[in-house]
């Protein structure tokens, strides 16, 4: 792939990216969230079309108009989430849409299909019963079925997106063995991962992406972890503004020994009045899960939550809101806003009960007046408060959600990826807003995968990895490297 360019509205997603893959090699593709790895792979597999650039397969230039074309060229992808039909057997999944027929093409030749699948599994050196229902298999075995399916198309290029994220140690070993076999058969593998130790073990070369560019391609052998991290993090902080002050000493929230399934393990921390506490970590580190658990959106297994020094029993978001907690989801459209409803209704939603006469009838004039005040206060750009929220830009939608919680008198605010999907200009405005809120004495938790954002906003930084807190850093002295080291540290070890 050469000089690949891709723009989305507002973002230059890929800038003259180059990437090459040799037959029989494992080529790791690494980079922070949003570096452009997935976009690049979507172009390779025909999901997106590049704005410009060239793609060569076996030395011949090709265009890949769609996933089917990619398949015909022998390019397959194993997604992080598996796309299998649980109630069908392994063989049925592999040959879906191209089943061998018999009886004038009216019936599926199950026997031949199972035999073909068995042959495929044998070639991969794995033992799976072709007639077993996929839904009854472990995730690891389901993944092997996906790989088998890819190979059944005679794939010569296999893209694996974080294939080990749901596997345990033995299963990872097994997968690596399969990968070694594939390599030996001349299949080229693009391996997307965050896990350093895996890269060291199976990759032949490593390409690091950052900000939509390929930074460097290095041989895996003889390249240190530290070097890869510095390549991934790269840039010095463009603007070195850091959070002012430290917040106060008053403890607003204390969480002790919080556990929830595999996602949150023994998480303890405190949040002070007027403080911005950053939660850093890679995707899937469990930060969102911590926030949702505290907020009562998901049930917890164990742990204590103290709000303003008092033990709090939070069983539902309603309990949390009553205590002055607010959670602003990264996915505003699904969890933050009722987008077909007006700005007025969204701003006031958490406080509707307050705007009724006799707890029955809505006082629409008061609703309009109050929502107008908050829209002006936060400078939400909307023609009227009656505008449907879905018509607002991302930054303005975020402000509507913030207004909702301020109106509800919430003073402990969890911001999950507060600037996701928001363009650069609006980002600065949101930052200023958050800092202003902290200065007014609100306590804020910022969960973000963008390190400059964490460094710019946080008084203190907590780093999580695989559901655990792996360290706490001072906002003034933390660096991208120190965060990344903590964020990647637990990978592989805790499995």
């Amino acid at each position: 792939m050469r000089a690949i360019e891709k723009r989305f509205p507002g973002v230059h997603a890929l800038r003259s990216v180059r990437f090459d893959l040799r037959a029989g090699e494992v080529h790791a593709l690494m980079g922070e969230n949003g570096a452009g790895k997935s976009t690049l792979m979507k172009i390779l597999t025909g999901v997106y079309h590049p704005d410009s650039g060239e793609i060569f397969v076996d030395g011949k230039q090709v265009t890949i108009p769609g996933p089917k074309a990619a398949q015909d060229l022998g390019i397959s992808i194993i997604h992080q989430e598996l796309y299998l039909m649980n109630h069908l057997t392994a063989a049925q999944n592999i040959y879906i849409g191209r089943e061998p027929r018999k009886g004038f093409g009216l019936f599926v030749d199950e026997a031949k299909m199972n035999a073909d699948a068995a042959a495929l599994f044998k070639r991969m050196n794995i033992r799976i019963d072709p007639s077993e229902e996929v839904g009854n298999m472990t995730v690891a075995r389901q993944q092997l079925v996906e790989i088998a399916k890819a190979l059944s198309f005679n794939s010569r290029v296999l893209v694996m997106d974080e294939p080990t994220s749901a596997l345990n140690e033995t299963e990872v070993e097994h997968l690596f063995a399969v990968i070694q076999d594939l390599k030996a058969n001349g299949v080229g593998i693009v391996y997307i991962t965050h896990k350093m130790d895996e890269v060291k073990r199976i990759a032949d070369r490593i390409t690091v992406m950052r900000d939509g560019q390929t930074i460097d391609t290095v041989p895996a052998e003889g390249t240190s972890m530290a070097r890869i991290i510095s390549l991934m993090v790269g840039r010095e902080l463009a603007d070195a503004t850091r959070a002012e002050g430290t917040g106060t000493e008053t403890e607003m929230l204390r969480v002790a020994g919080l556990n929830r399934g595999k996602a949150v393990k023994d998480v303890s921390f405190t949040l002070r009045k007027g403080e911005i506490l950053g939660f850093a970590g890679l995707m899937g580190a469990g930060r969102t899960e911590v926030a949702r658990a505290i907020f009562g959106a998901d049930p917890i297994d164990s742990g204590e939550i103290h709000v303003r020094g008092k033990r709090a029993m939070i069983k539902s978001p309603k309990d949390a809101v009553t205590l002055g907690l607010a959670y602003l989801s990264e996915d505003r459209k699904h969890f933050g806003l009722v987008t077909p409803m007006s700005v007025r209704d969204n701003v006031t939603m958490a406080s509707w009960q307050r705007f009724t006469s006799g707890r029955m009838w809505m006082k629409d004039a008061a609703l309009r007046k109050t929502s107008k005040e908050y829209v002006d206060l936060l400078k939400v750009k909307t023609p009227t408060v009656d505008q449907e929220t879905r018509l607002l830009s991302g930054g303005n939608q975020q402000k509507v959600v913030i207004a909702k919680w301020l109106l509800r008198d919430c003073d402990i605010l969890f911001f999950d990826e507060p600037t996701r999907g928001i363009d650069v200009g609006a980002k600065a405005e949101i930052y200023k807003l958050l800092q202003g809120l902290a200065a007014q004495g609100k306590s804020i938790v910022v969960i973000s995968s963008e390190m400059p954002e964490i460094l710019r906003l946080s008084h203190r930084i907590i780093v999580m990895c695989e559901g655990r807190i792996t360290g706490e850093l001072d906002g003034k002295t933390a660096t991208q490297e120190s965060i990344m080291t903590l964020a990647a540290q637990g990978w592989g070890k805790a499995a």
Binding site: P9, T39, V321, V338, S393, D423
Partner: protein
């Protein structure tokens, strides 16, 4: 990646022709067109007597349509409205005829039993997390069975309570304006529609109904007691079914326990023709009333034209599909 989140919709002025008003306008135009068509091509269609027939016939379906509209906007569905209606009628019969109590208690019996059953459906859906379609499918059979059990599978007549006639077929307005004869049931329907419309647009419950139907999870994360409001919605809907029960039994002067099956489909059809989205979050009571009128005008007009009974059913089906297609086509343009 973040490409979808990055599409910036320019803020635009809310237009006068919103989807909701367009939909209602379309339904209304269709209704007027049907009225004109049948007036021209069906002799006696436009006679006042026939108009009264149509209104009378619309009353029950209109009220049931309103009941199911509330639930559909909240993101649910209620298949039990028809048989719940029957059960409430039987309850009124038991209170008035079997127990010989006065009329107001009979009315209360119908409304309260409706609310109780609706609330029960709501509780099953909210607390046990059974999908509304399944929960109310079960409730449909429960109500149908109970109506037969309580009545001994025999109609209960209201001969001891002559005033029961005043709920639907009698025309009280005639005493005010001599010569004008409109059955009371028609006024009951419009009354229910107006009250439901006010609740939907002006009350806290109404606001929650729209929020639940548009994005239940966002409402929950805003601290809304989602389960409670769901139960209230189904209970209110059940109570309105009680009104329908009173109307239908008053008109027949009897609670017919075998009646009711199939009414839920007509009610849902009225709501859908009137622009209520089965996906929730969108719909109006006025639209549903227009939808109910479209259905009864069609049935009545085709009958007056002498079209075979069976064909009328076919036409109703076609109308439902066209109505939903128009809805989809309109929304694509917006």
């Amino acid at each position: 990646m973040t490409d979808t989140a990055l599409t910036h919709a320019q803020p635009e002025k809310p237009g006068f022709f919103t989807i909701a008003t367009m939909q209602k306008a379309v339904a209304f135009v269709v209704l007027v067109a049907l009225l004109i068509f049948f007036s021209v091509f069906a002799a006696n269609f436009a006679a006042w007597n026939n108009m009264v027939n149509i209104m009378q016939a619309t009353a029950v379906n209109g009220v049931l349509g309103v009941a199911v509209t509330l639930v559909i906007i909240s993101g649910g569905i209620d298949l039990a409205v028809g048989t719940m209606m029957t059960l409430t009628a039987v309850m009124a019969g038991i209170v008035l005829t079997n127990l010989g109590m006065p009329l107001p208690l009979g009315i209360a019996g119908a409304l309260l039993s409706g609310a109780a059953m609706g609330g029960f459906s709501g509780a099953i859906i909210a607390k046990l997390r059974i999908p509304p379609f399944i929960a109310t499918l079960g409730m449909m059979q429960i109500a149908r069975g109970l109506a037969l059990v309580f009545s001994g599978a025999k109609p209960i007549y209201f001969n001891d309570t002559p005033s029961y006639q005043y709920i639907s077929p009698e025309s009280s307005i005639t005493s005010l304006i001599p010569g004008l004869e409109i059955p009371n049931g028609v006024f009951v329907m419009f009354g229910v529609a107006i009250i439901a419309s006010i609740i939907l647009n002006r009350s806290l419950l109404g606001r929650y109904i729209f929020a639940l139907g548009s994005n239940e999870e966002a409402a929950r994360l805003s601290g809304v007691n989602v389960n409670f409001w769901k139960i209230v919605t189904y209970a209110l809907s059940g109570m309105i079914c009680g009104v329908a029960g009173l109307l239908v039994s008053s008109r027949l002067n009897s609670a017919q326990p075998a009646l009711g099956l199939g009414y839920e489909l007509d009610a849902i059809a009225a709501a859908v023709i009137g622009g209520t989205s089965l996906a929730g979050g969108r719909g109006t009571v006025l639209g549903t009333i227009i939808g109910a009128f479209i259905m009864s005008v069609l049935t009545n007009g085709l009958r007056v034209m002498g079209v075979q009974e069976e064909w009328k059913i076919v036409v109703t089906g076609v109308i439902i599909i066209i109505a939903v297609y128009v809805d989809i086509a309109l929304r694509k343009k917006m």
